[in-house]
């Protein structure tokens, strides 16, 4: 509902002139400049390369999984691809992409017009690149969770590179957290008017600072255990598996929120922009951000709740807190639906591709998020959920269906601000439909397979209909997503040179379809 401070809460700067940053930037500037626009651009481009890499890994192991039996890939190669897919997608694509978008939008929206501690952002980027290089050379096969003591007994002589990569990821994300937190604290105007991008940076910055310390300890502990200098995690030498699990999931669960919260902030920032009106409730969103940040930290043990006696008071408390995550999550969705429903949606929004992606992302958040009600309950978790395909279905809906697609919303929205041109609408719409059909098919088939107890991390499986059929359709969905990604890359590459020049305001709010399109005629 309308409030006198709404204008300030929507952000200091809702519109700024498009620039051709990509066309004018030199390689040296792109690589080493501390200008927030260049750091953000570099992060976005690198994250897209990581998406291509992680996606290619997925295409390869999907080919193996499409039908039962061993086709062309052994278990070790499969697990290496699976491990690198998970790590590259989470650490190389999703989190850095949304952080990079925040690096660009935060100074604009908060009105600081600079990225405080940009040097730390620069170091964060290069340390992450070093981690990615180590990962590709080391080719670990211990999954992204690197459970000890298994992770100490797999791989070859280069497996230490995987442990070191985990440590470097932790350092990189810690620095990124410091930059985001500093940026939020620099916001003008105080708490009552801080835009949602600021609340997001505050929440996710704090989460990064707190949660990456245990991740760093995991990387370092695995490395020193492997070198037999310590015995933190290996029970055969006096270490503790429980200790590993608690330390790892102190990062592992908040890690889910690291891309999730900036993605939510993009909805709050761009929905008013497309609709031309403020969000339904500012404080509902703020409270939801704070609650998400609070609930994120203690509930990591729900990831391994079938490990111990599960009816004790501690496990029950974890179950209750996990169930309560529903409250802030639904507050966000309620807020968005209430905003959309309150007044007519402008024709300009309905026809714009990023707005369509935004609506689809919210739909996937609902689709994947509702299943969290079952995941949180120990009784159902210890039935068909824990470590079956049900879990990847849930997190693919949340990570890719929502957060990944919201990152794409950010890219399409920012495209004219980086290139001075508009993307090709027809190709962008093709991308949209390929991804929605592909994602829905893939995620639904993962739920179906998981409900039939299809286990995670297997390169071969029994030839039973309830497993074989979903796998065929799952692969088909995966390849549609791959095709959509190719269309997307072709579009952003070609349109940077051939696209229509962007108008002064690339995203004008127009109530009717008869209005002028958002690009000026080509010169």
């Amino acid at each position: 509902m309308a409030h006198e401070l709404d204008h300030q809460r929507m952000g200091e700067k809702l519109h700024w002139p498009p620039e051709n940053i990509i066309g004018e930037i030199s390689l040296k500037t792109l690589l080493f400049s501390n200008d927030y626009r260049h750091i953000a651009l570099k992060g976005i481009l690198t994250a897209l390369i990581m998406l291509a890499l992680g996606g290619t890994f997925a295409m390869l192991f999907r080919a193996e999984l499409t039908v039962p039996g061993v086709q062309f890939m052994g278990a070790r190669v499969y697990m290496t691809l699976m491990t690198m897919h998970g790590m590259v997608m989470v650490f190389g694509f999703l989190i850095p992409l949304l952080i990079s978008i925040s690096y660009y939008m935060m100074p604009k929206v908060l009105g600081t017009n600079r990225l405080h501690w940009a040097n730390a952002a620069q170091w964060s980027y290069w340390i992450l690149v070093a981690a990615a290089v180590l990962l590709v050379i080391g080719r670990p096969d211990f999954t992204w969770t690197a459970y000890a003591p298994m992770s100490l007994r797999v791989g070859g002589d280069l497996v230490w590179m995987g442990y070191l990569a985990i440590l470097l990821v932790a350092i990189s994300e810690f620095l990124a957290g410091a930059v985001l937190l500093r940026g939020a604290l620099a916001s003008r105007g105080g708490w009552k008017t801080m835009p949602m991008m600021g609340w997001s940076a505050l929440t996710v910055g704090l989460l990064l600072l707190v949660s990456t310390i245990p991740l760093g300890f995991v990387g370092l502990g695995l490395l020193t255990d492997w070198l037999e200098m310590t015995a933190w995690f290996d029970p055969a030498r006096g270490g503790s598996v429980k200790f590993f699990l608690y330390v790892f999931w102190t990062y592992g669960h908040p890690a889910v929120y690291l891309p999730f919260i900036p993605a939510i902030a993009i909805v709050y920032t761009l929905m008013p922009r497309f609709l031309g009106r403020p969000m339904w409730s500012y404080w509902s969103g703020v409270v939801a951000f704070i609650l998400l940040g609070i609930f994120a930290m203690p509930i990591g043990p729900h990831h391994f709740q079938p490990l111990y006696t599960v009816s004790g008071w501690y496990e029950r408390m974890i179950q209750i807190l996990t169930l309560l995550v529903f409250v802030p999550s639904v507050l966000h969705v309620f807020n968005w639906i209430a905003t959309l429903w309150s007044d007519p949606i402008p024709a300009s929004a309905k026809r714009s591709v990023p707005f369509k992606f935004m609506i689809a992302s919210i739909a996937f958040l609902i689709y994947g998020g509702a299943t969290a009600y079952l995941n949180a309950q120990i009784a159902t978790d210890t039935d068909f959920i824990h470590n079956t395909y049900w879990i990847p279905a849930h997190f693919h809906a949340m990570f890719f269906g929502f957060a990944g697609q919201m990152a794409v919303v950010g890219i399409y929205y920012l495209y004219p601000y980086f290139t001075g041109r508009m993307y090709n609408e027809r190709l962008a719409n093709s991308h949209f439909w390929l991804w929605q059909i592909g994602l829905f098919t893939k995620i639904t088939m993962m739920f179906v397979a998981g409900y039939a107890y299809f286990p995670r991390w297997v390169f071969d499986y029994l030839d039973v209909p309830e497993w074989a059929m979903p796998q065929i359709m799952l692969s088909a969905g995966g390849y549609l997503i791959g095709l959509g990604f190719i269309v997307f890359i072709v579009n952003v590459a070609l349109s940077a040179r051939r696209g229509k020049p962007a108008a002064d305001d690339p995203w004008p709010v127009e109530e009717s379809d008869a209005a002028v399109p958002s690009a000026v005629p080509a010169q």
Partner: protein
């Protein structure tokens, strides 16, 4: 499951209405508070329902005593079960040891409708123990002992037991069979998943 499906449809219907319906609707803050109250009730119900289910399971296993984390030698309790199988999870398979010290690799042989107690240990890494036909999943931490019980299916046949925790390169092969022996002919290979109604 019904609540999850209802919640999904409610959310998607609300979103679709907000985007596609001609008629506009202005939500009030009181509606949001009602929604939150509904969510809290839902969370309370989820906790109550889950705890009731799992507590009942554990009470069946051991009235009041510890059921995991250490070996509990309680012959009275063990008499409640028709069969006790000491189970070793290892890279990569399961070994089942009967009370008569007979060892069977990757086959737990039981009779229809028997109450079977598995005392499971892992001697190397964390393993999973999933028996789909019994709707049961657990993780086994090296050094600990988990005690889990199932009621064997009434229908004879081979039912899947599988590791669901990544435990190394042979994880995909870490499977065993719950072999339910009866006078009837053996049923066909069955993953025992929810889809077969078992």
């Amino acid at each position: 499951m019904a609540i999850t499906i209802a919640l999904t449809f409610l959310g998607l219907a609300g979103l679709a209405a907000a985007v596609f319906m001609e008629k506009r609707f202005r939500a009030t803050y009181s509606l949001e508070f009602v929604f939150i109250a509904g969510l809290l009730v839902m969370a309370f119900f989820g906790d109550w329902s889950s705890t009731r289910t799992y507590t009942a399971y554990q009470e069946d296993l051991s009235a009041g005593g510890a059921v995991s984390g250490k070996i509990v030698e309680d012959t009275d309790r063990q008499r409640k079960f028709d069969r006790v199988l000491t189970t070793i999870a290892f890279q990569w398979g399961f070994a089942f040891i009967t009370a008569d010290n007979e060892i069977s690799r990757n086959a737990a042989i039981v009779k229809p409708n028997e109450r079977v107690l598995f005392k499971i240990v892992s001697n190397d890494v964390i393993h999973g123990f999933n028996v789909p036909v019994a709707s049961l999943t657990a993780e086994i931490d090296p050094g600990d002992v988990r005690e889990l019980w199932i009621r064997a299916p009434a229908r004879s046949g081979k039912y899947l037991i599988q590791c669901v925790n990544y435990c190394g390169v042979g994880h995909a092969q870490m499977k065993a069979w719950l072999v339910v022996e009866g006078e009837e002919p053996t049923a066909e290979l069955d993953s025992g998943g929810n889809t077969d109604g078992a």
